[in-house]
């Protein structure tokens, strides 16, 4: 029986609408950030936008975030499904998102003002983060388990792990992981209120960093038993139990997470070829993660903070960066890589990944 692994992927992100475009962006070290985005009237900072016009959406500014999320998700699913090697009844769908359902709250606000009806009576299923996962399962005939994880910025990394385990325990034969988050006013104004945005192009893991550039991505990862791009070799997950948005000083729980992942993989520090850190560009979080990496590795030489290219796609960032890691591992013939995901609420995840044969 073949090992479980990431066999195929489909992606929409600021780096392009295909795997080939992502490989080119990585090869050319070319970012997809711009000040000329659909929120330019609200925010001057650079953002990373998907090229919606190539999906037939000529005016994305006029569409709700959930509309765009639905359009993009269907496109990614359509690209992935031909690669399934199993019966649709044995396929699970595992989604990681933080903002799915947000458009429903704006519609609810408008209805409340027009009608005067109490908010409690206006809550509706479109405001539940699970709605896209369920609709996709319905549309594409997926009758296996359907789960939505919304654990802040580790959401799609968690979805990846849960999907992997679902195949490993034969709950399903194949699992589709979707990382989905689309730019919207809630996250733009929210991160702005926390003063975490960089008004310039972000420079994560550098001394000149000043904050985040937000991005969006819809990423599909297919996990099944077949020749794969990469496999999970080791993992660790923990909570910092320190603060809602700030990491513990010195990055001690980030370091602990990485150490645990390496130990579970039985991979030594010297065997690692590549690190894709969480590295958002903020002063505090980057400082903590950099300290953690330095204390383990002695330098940052293996680190490739790809949010400098794509922006921070929040709940979708894990899936996007797992894919970028897979592409880099193949491009540069790396064997082992470490991927970190850290999120609000002190959620920490580290994966040790091994290159596959595909």
């Amino acid at each position: 029986m073949a090992d479980i692994g990431l066999s195929h992927a489909a992606v929409l992100s600021p780096l392009g609408n295909s795997l080939e475009e992502h490989i080119l962006a990585l090869t050319e070290n070319r970012h997809g950030l711009s000040r000329n985005h659909r929120f330019a009237s609200s925010i001057a900072a650079p953002l990373g936008e998907i090229n919606w016009s190539r999906l037939g959406v000529e005016d994305p500014a006029s569409r709700s975030a959930d509309d765009l999320l639905w359009i993009g998700s269907q496109s990614v699913m359509q690209d992935l499904l031909p690669h399934l090697t199993t019966d649709p009844q044995r396929v699970g769908l595992f989604v990681g998102t933080t903002t799915c359902g947000v458009s429903g709250f704006y519609a609810m606000n408008r209805e409340r003002k027009n009608s005067g009806v109490a908010v409690q009576k206006l809550l509706n299923p479109d405001m539940q983060q699970a709605f896209v996962a369920h609709r996709l399962a319905e549309k594409f005939g997926i009758t296996g388990p359907v789960y939505t994880f919304s654990t802040s910025c580790v959401a799609s990394t968690q979805a990846f792990l849960m999907a992997y385990d679902a195949v490993a325990m034969s709950w399903v034969d194949s699992a589709i992981v979707l990382g989905v988050d689309v730019l919207n006013l809630t996250t733009l104004h929210g991160f702005n209120s926390l003063q975490l945005l960089d008004e310039d192009f972000c420079k994560p893991f550098t001394d000149s960093r000043k904050g985040i550039n937000l991005g969006e991505a819809i990423v599909g990862l297919l996990i099944q038993r077949s020749p794969s791009m990469l496999r999970i070799k080791g993992r660790a997950a923990l909570s910092e139990a320190h603060h809602m948005t700030q990491p513990a000083p010195g990055g001690i729980w980030m370091k602990a997470c990485m150490e645990e992942a390496l130990a579970s993989a039985k991979v030594s520090i010297s065997e690692l070829d590549y690190i894709n850190p969480h590295a958002t560009g903020t002063l505090m979080n980057d400082e903590a993660e950099m300290k953690a990496v330095l204390s383990l590795f002695g330098d940052l030489d293996l680190c490739d903070p790809t949010k400098r290219l794509s922006g921070h796609a929040l709940g979708a960032s894990g899936a996007l960066e797992i894919l970028l890691t897979a592409l880099e591992m193949k491009r540069k013939n790396f064997r082992f890589a470490l991927k970190n995901s850290f999120g609000f609420g002190g959620a920490n995840l580290s994966l040790v990944l091994e290159r596959g044969e595909a």
């Binding site: 009758t143 789960y147 919304s150 654990t151 006013l185 702005n192 209120s193 909570s239 999120g343 609420g345």
Partner: protein, 232 residues
């Protein structure tokens, strides 16, 4: 395949008399977070050995909610709609679905990993079945399952329930004999008043016990069946 047991169960509204209400961060928390922390503190105080063991073993914590931090999201989106900016940074950072897990971790659960699950109206059952699958497959030995709901309104109101699921039979109160998801045949009208009324939350527990046979149907025709056996 391992058996799955219910070792502890409790429910709570917001408990303003608990030790939780004395913590410095209490006033910053949402109603949902207060209810979740209230039930966790109640549980850990009533069974200190059990919860110390769960903390030391880093039993994962699952949190499920149909609408999550709805009040915070409502305030943020209202602020943006009204152009009353900046939005509240406190509301924004508390709007993530795993915020309750963060406070439970900070107030005693320690460094266990947390998973925030959104499953619509069947959120609790999805979380229950996922936990049961993982325990049954030997991937986790114990899981703390938290399920909560906040009623959005002028007065803070929320409720939460806590279940400790485990592969260990010792001191277990119930065994989860069966858990399965199937497709039902009855069409559901998503505009049905009963479904629009978020007061109709399918709590797992009633008087701190699960119903022995439980069936919850979501809007997408999935039926979640759970069957418990009470242990003498």
């Amino acid at each position: 395949m391992k058996k799955v047991y219910l070792t502890y169960a409790a429910q709570s509204e917001i408990n303003r008399d608990s030790k939780a209400s004395n913590i410095a961060l209490w006033r910053r928390m949402t109603a949902l977070q207060k209810a979740v922390l209230s039930v966790y503190m109640q549980a850990s105080e009533s069974e200190p050995k059990l919860f110390l063991s769960l903390k030391e073993s880093r039993a994962p914590i699952y949190f499920a909610s149909a609408y999550g931090e709805a009040a915070a999201m409502y305030r943020i989106t209202e602020s943006i709609e009204d152009n009353s900016l900046p939005v509240s940074p406190k509301d924004f950072q508390h709007s993530v679905l795993n915020a309750s897990i963060a406070y439970v971790s900070m107030q005693g659960a320690g460094h266990a990993s947390g998973l925030a699950i959104s499953g619509g109206f069947a959120s609790a059952d999805k979380a229950l079945h996922l936990a049961a699958r993982r325990i049954s497959a030997g991937l986790d030995e114990s899981i703390i399952l938290l399920h909560g709901h906040e009623w959005v309104g002028p007065i803070e109101s929320a409720r939460a329930e806590l279940l400790v699921l485990s592969a260990k039979a010792a001191e277990a109160k119930f065994e989860l004999e069966a858990f399965e998801e199937s497709k039902g045949g009855i069409e559901i009208d998503p505009d049905h008043d009963e479904l629009r009324d978020a007061g109709q939350i399918p709590w797992i527990l009633s008087e701190n016990r699960p119903d022995l046979i439980r069936q919850v149907r979501n809007l997408y025709n999935s039926v979640f069946l759970s069957r418990w056996r009470e242990l003498v």
